[in-house]
Symmetry: C2
Subunit: 589 residues, 2 copies
C-alpha cells in the first residue's frame, strides 16, 4: 500500500505519528522559507509542510510539483499553528520528511474546484478530471449509498434481485428500441430492453413473488434536455398483492431512504391523491405539493356574465398568488407574455387583485361588478394583498396551463426549496388515453396494466365513453413535482390481456408476434401481481437537491447521445460490417 | 394481500389459527372421502385437506383443480395425523373452509419436479415453468444472496459501486464487440462493453480509489459449451495499492462468501502458486488442488536410453495414479485412445505399473531396466499398487496434456467432490505470450497489465527472449480447477502504456484511435492502481456445486446465442432498418 492513512483521516489524536499519505496536489504555496502542499484524495485534503530546515532535496522536489501531480508523502503529524476549522483535518499538518512523485500531470484544462472555470463541453471531454471535483464525488457517493440502502431494504423484505437479459427481442411498441445485430444469426437483431417489464411478469408466473433489480434500460428517443439513452431503474414486482400492499412496501422503501441517507422524516402515511384531483387542483399528474396555490374551478362563477372569452370555453380556473397584489402593469404584461409562449400555450391571462386597501382591481372590470369579483376572490380564499391569475379553455388543457403557471409562480415566490421534500402517491389513473390524431386508445401506463376489477364491465364495452371511464389500480410516486416512479396492478389473465390488445387496436397476429410468449405464459397459472419502477438517476438527483441527472451518472452522454470523452458512437470497420451482413446506406453530407 | 402466510411458514405453533394461503397446485389426490392438495409457493409446500364433512361446493371446486392452478385457500391450521418429516411444514395441514381459483392452468408440457421429464429445449422454451422447479429456485436464491454479500463486504471495505455505461466505443481488440447502430448519429455504432476495464481505470484517474460494480458484459464469440454472449462480472479496482493489497481484500471477500453463504471455512491465508509451478506441476494455469497427483518432470530420467520417442522430444513427464496398478490392458488401451483424441492431442501413452507383488510392469520394458523404472517410480513417490502415466512432447504442450489427463483421472477416482472447495491464487504470470501464427506478442491478461517493476529493463529490450521473460503482477483466483477471476497491477504511466502497444505491434495511430482517451487520461495524474474481476455466473455455479452456469442465470441463451423462449434474435421491420440507415446483405438459403 502506498499510504498508511487517507487524506481525510488524520486528527489531533494522531499528532506525533509518522504517516504516509498519497494523493493529488490540489495546490502548493511558498511563504517565506516554508512550502505548503494541499494534498487531496477521495476522502479529503491534508496540509503538508516543509520549512527551511528541511533538506534541499525535499524543497527541490516540492518546487517541481504542479497541480494534480500524484505524490506520496511521509512525515510526522503535527499540530497546526493556524487551524482551519473548515476541513476535518484542519487541526493538523504533516511535517514532510520524504516525498515520491508517483506520476506527473499536465496542467488540467480547467480548475479542479467546487466551481470549475471549465465549460460543459470541455468538462465532458475530460470527464475523468471533472469527476475529481467534490460536488461530483458527493453525487456518486450518494448514488452508491442510495443503491446500497435500496438493496438492504428490499432484501430484508424478502425480495430477490434477479438479473434479466440485456439482449432481448425487439418489440416496436412505445419508444424505439436500440437494436443489436446478431452475427451468429445473420439478418436478425436483438433489442436492448426499454425495461424488464415482461421478464418481471414472467418471474411472477415462475413463482418468484418478490423480485427487484437495479437495472439499466435503453430508449432510442430524440433526447430532450436531461434525458439519457441509457438510464437506471429500480424495478420491482410482487405476487398475490393488491395495490395497497405495493404502496406500503415502497412507501417504506422511500421512507427508509429519506431517513438513512438524508436523515429526513417524511409524513407517515404519505399523502395520496387521485389522478382526477391532481389534474383538477394542480393541473398536473405530478403535483408539487411543497406549496398550496391550488387551482379553483371558476367556470360557474365567471361564465354567463357577457364576457365572450369565458362564455365560449368549457372551463375557467384560477390560482391565488399570495402577497402579489402589488404586481405592476409591467410585471403582469410580462407574465401574460410568459403564458402565451408556445411552451404554455395560453391565449391570454386575466388577473384580479385584492388590493391592500380592500378594493378589487381586475383586467375584466368591464364585465364583472366588484361584488362578483369579490365573491370569486372569497371563494378562492384570496386575502387582502393577494393576486388571482385566471386562465380558460378546454378543461384539461386549461388546467394544465394553470399547473405550469402555478409552478412558475412557486419558483418566483421561492416556494420550491430543493431541500424540502414533499412526496406523494398519485393513484386511480385512467386506464386509457384517447388520441384524436391516430383515432385510437393508448395505454396510459402500459398495455399490461389491469383495469380496476369494479370497472371490468366498462372495459368490455365497445363505447368510447365507457372505455374512457375505466380506471386502473395504477400509481405514481411523485416528489416535489417530479414523477420518480410508477406502476400498477397487472393483468394476469390471458383473456383480459387479449382484450387489452384489442382495445389498443393491436391485431391478434401482431400481439402474438410481439407478446406471444407472455400471453402464452399467462395460460400456465399466472398469479395476481403488480409492481412498479423508479427512475434511479432522478431519485438520486432529487435526493441530492439537483434538477439535472448528469452529475449523478459517472459517464453520461450529451443531448446528441454522444459520449464526447470516448468520441462514441463511431464508425466500425468494413470487416465487422461484413461479418454482420450489414451495409450502411447513409451518405455523408 | 391474497394471503396471510406463505406455504413454507406454518408450524405446530400455528395450530388453531385461521389462515389464508395462495400458490400453485403441486398435486391433488383423493383418499376415500378426503381430498388433499399440495399447495406450493416460493417458500415451500403446505398440505390442504377437505373431508366428506366439507361442503359439496368445496369438494366440487377441488375436483376441478389441475396441476399448476393458482388458488387461494382459507382454513384452520390443524395437526397432521401422519406427519411428514421431510418438509418443514410437515407437522400441520390446513383444513380448508374456502377456496378461490385465482387462475387456471393448462397442463404444463413437463413435470414441475426436482427432476423434470422435460428435455432441455422444451424447458428452455417454457423457461418460466422450468424456473418453478426447486433446484432453479435455489440457484437464483443463492445468486441473490451471493450478490448481496459481495456488496455488503465491499461497501464495508469502503468501495463505491459506480455504474459505467453500456453504450460505449467499439475497440476491436480481443474478442468481438456487439455493436449498436446509432439512429441519431447515422453510419455510426456504439459497442456493448466486453468489460468496464477502461472505465474503471478512468475512475482511478478520477480519484475513486475503491471502485466495484456487479455488471453485465458482452462478447460476440462463437459460443463454446457453457459460454453466454452476455455474462455478469464482479468488477473491482483500487488505487495506491500493490499486488498484496488487492489479494488481501479479495481473499477476504471470498472467505466471507464461503463463510456467510455456505458456512465453509477456507484456508487462511489461501494458498498461492506461481504460474510456472502451476504449469510444471499441474499442467494448467488453473490447477485443481483438491487432489495431489502432481506432474513429475522425468526428462532427465527417461531421455537418452535409446527410446527414440522420448529421445526426440523436449520433455517427458508423468503422474502417479494411486491404487490403479490393477488397470487392465483394456482399460489402458481405452485411456490411450482417450489421450489421443484431438481434445487432448497426445501421440500415445506410456504406463508404468508398480504391481502389488512389488514387480514393475511397463509399456516401455524393452528400453528401460526394472531398476531404472523403479528409480523413476520412487522419484515420483509411486507406491506398491500405483500406476504411472507418462506423456512427452514440447514442454508446455506435454504438461498441458498431462494436466488434462490428471483431471480426468481425478474424476475417475472420485477425487473431485463439487462440495469440497480448494481455492488458490495463481500469481507471477508472464506478461506476454508469443504467437507463432501471427508472429507477434499478445498480452497474456490484457494490454493494460503492468510489467513487474524489476522487469522494466527486459520490457524495454527488443529481444524476443527478454520479452518472454517479463512477468506481471497478475493473479488469477482459481477454485477447484476453474478460473473464477483474475486481475493485475495496471500500467499507470502514459509512456509505459505506449511501449506496451508498441510491443503488441499496435501502431501509434491505431492505439491513439482506440485507446487515445485512456493514454491521454494517464497524462493528467494517474495513480498506481490495480484490480480484478470475477465471473459472477461461474462463481455462483461453483458455490452451488454445479459445473454449468445455465441454471444460475434466470433467462440464459442457448449455444447459438438464441433465447428460445423469446424467439430472439429476430428480424426487425424495414422502417426501423431505414431509420438506422442499414441494409442487410444476408441472403437466406
Amino acid at each position: 500500500m502506498h499510504r498508511t492513512h487517507t487524506c481525510g483521516e488524520l486528527r489531533a489524536a494522531n499528532i506525533g505519528q509518522t504517516v504516509t499519505l498519497a494523493g493529488w496536489v490540489q495546490r502548493t504555496r511558498k511563504m517565506g522559507g516554508m512550502s505548503f502542499i494541499d494534498l487531496r484524495d477521495r476522502y479529503g485534503i491534508t496540509q503538508i509542510v516543509t520549512d527551511e530546515a528541511s533538506s534541499k532535496e525535499l524543497n527541490d522536489q516540492v518546487a517541481k510539483l504542479g497541480r494534480e501531480y500524484v505524490i506520496k508523502v511521509t512525515g510526522e503529524v503535527c499540530e497546526r499553528q493556524s487551524k482551519n476549522p473548515k476541513i476535518p483535518t484542519g487541526d493538523i499538518e504533516i511535517k514532510m520528511t520524504g516525498i515520491t512523485i508517483l506520476n506527473e500531470a499536465q496542467t488540467p484544462p480547467f480548475t479542479i474546484e467546487d466551481e470549475s472555470d471549465g465549460g460543459e463541453e470541455l468538462r465532458s471531454k475530460y470527464r475523468y478530471l471533472d469527476l475529481r471535483r467534490a460536488p461530483l464525488k458527493r453525487a456518486l457517493e450518494l448514488r452508491h449509498r442510495m443503491a446500497h440502502e435500496v438493496r438492504n431494504y428490499l432484501d430484508e423484505q424478502g425480495f430477490l434481485e434477479i438479473e434479466t437479459p440485456y439482449l432481448i427481442k425487439s418489440t416496436p411498441e412505445g419508444a424505439r428500441d436500440f437494436v443489436v445485430p446478431s452475427r451468429m444469426n445473420p439478418g436478425q437483431f436483438y433489442a436492448l430492453p426499454q425495461s424488464p417489464q415482461t421478464f418481471k411478469q414472467l418471474l411472477m408466473v415462475a413463482g418468484y413473488d418478490r423480485y427487484f433489480q437495479i437495472v439499466r434500460c435503453f430508449r432510442d428517443e430524440d433526447l430532450r434536455a436531461d434525458r439519457q439513452p441509457e438510464f437506471t431503474q429500480i424495478d420491482c414486482e410482487m405476487s398475490f398483492v393488491e395495490q395497497e400492499d405495493v404502496l406500503n412496501v415502497f412507501e417504506g422503501m422511500m421512507r427508509t431512504l429519506f431517513k438513512k441517507v438524508l436523515n429526513v422524516d417524511i409524513p407517515n402515511p404519505m399523502p395520496r391523491m387521485s389522478w382526477y384531483d391532481a389534474m383538477d387542483f394542480y393541473g398536473s399528474d405530478k403535483p408539487d405539493i411543497r406549496f398550496g396555490m391550488k387551482i379553483n374551478d371558476l367556470t360557474s362563477d365567471l361564465k354567463g356574465h357577457g364576457f365572450s372569452v369565458f362564455d365560449s370555453v368549457e372551463y375557467v380556473g384560477g390560482i391565488v398568488v399570495e402577497g402579489a397584489s402589488e404586481y405592476t402593469r409591467k410585471q403582469l404584461d410580462e407574465l401574460t407574455e410568459w403564458v402565451k409562449r408556445p411552451q404554455v400555450g395560453a391565449k391570454g391571462l386575466v388577473y384580479v387583485k385584492v388590493n391592500t386597501d380592500g378594493t378589487i382591481k381586475s383586467s375584466i372590470d368591464k364585465f364583472y361588478s366588484p361584488e362578483e369579483l369579490k365573491a370569486v376572490a372569497d371563494k378562492c380564499g384570496a386575502k387582502v394583498g393577494d393576486l388571482m391569475l385566471i386562465l380558460c379553455g378546454a378543461k384539461r388543457k386549461a388546467q394544465t396551463m394553470l399547473g405550469v403557471l402555478r409552478v412558475e409562480m412557486g419558483n418566483r415566490l421561492g416556494l420550491r426549496d430543493p431541500h424540502t421534500f414533499a412526496p406523494l402517491w398519485v393513484v386511480d389513473f385512467p386506464l386509457l388515453e384517447w388520441d384524436d390524431e391516430t383515432n385510437r386508445f393508448y395505454a396510459m401506463h402500459h398495455p399490461f396494466t389491469a383495469p380496476k376489477p369494479e370497472h371490468m364491465d366498462l372495459f368490455y364495452s365497445n363505447k368510447k365513453e365507457d372505455l374512457e371511464r375505466v380506471c386502473a389500480n395504477a400509481y405514481d410516486f411523485v416528489l416535489n413535482g417530479t414523477e420518480l416512479g410508477g406502476g400498477s396492478i397487472r393483468i394476469h389473465n390471458a383473456d383480459v390481456q387479449e382484450r387489452m390488445f384489442e382495445v389498443l387496436g393491436i391485431s391478434k397476429e401482431d400481439a402474438d408476434y410481439k407478446f406471444g410468449f407472455i400471453i402464452n405464459a399467462f395460460k400456465f397459472g399466472a398469479p395476481p401481481h403488480g409492481g412498479l419502477a423508479f427512475g434511479f438517476d432522478r431519485v438520486c438527483a432529487l435526493f441530492g437537491g439537483q434538477e439535472t441527472i448528469r452529475d449523478y451518472i459517472a459517464f453520461p452522454k450529451n443531448n446528441q447521445g454522444r459520449d464526447v470523452m470516448l468520441d462514441s458512437p463511431s464508425k466500425i470497420d468494413d470487416v465487422q460490417m461484413d461479418e454482420l451482413f450489414l451495409k450502411s446506406t447513409y451518405v455523408e453530407k
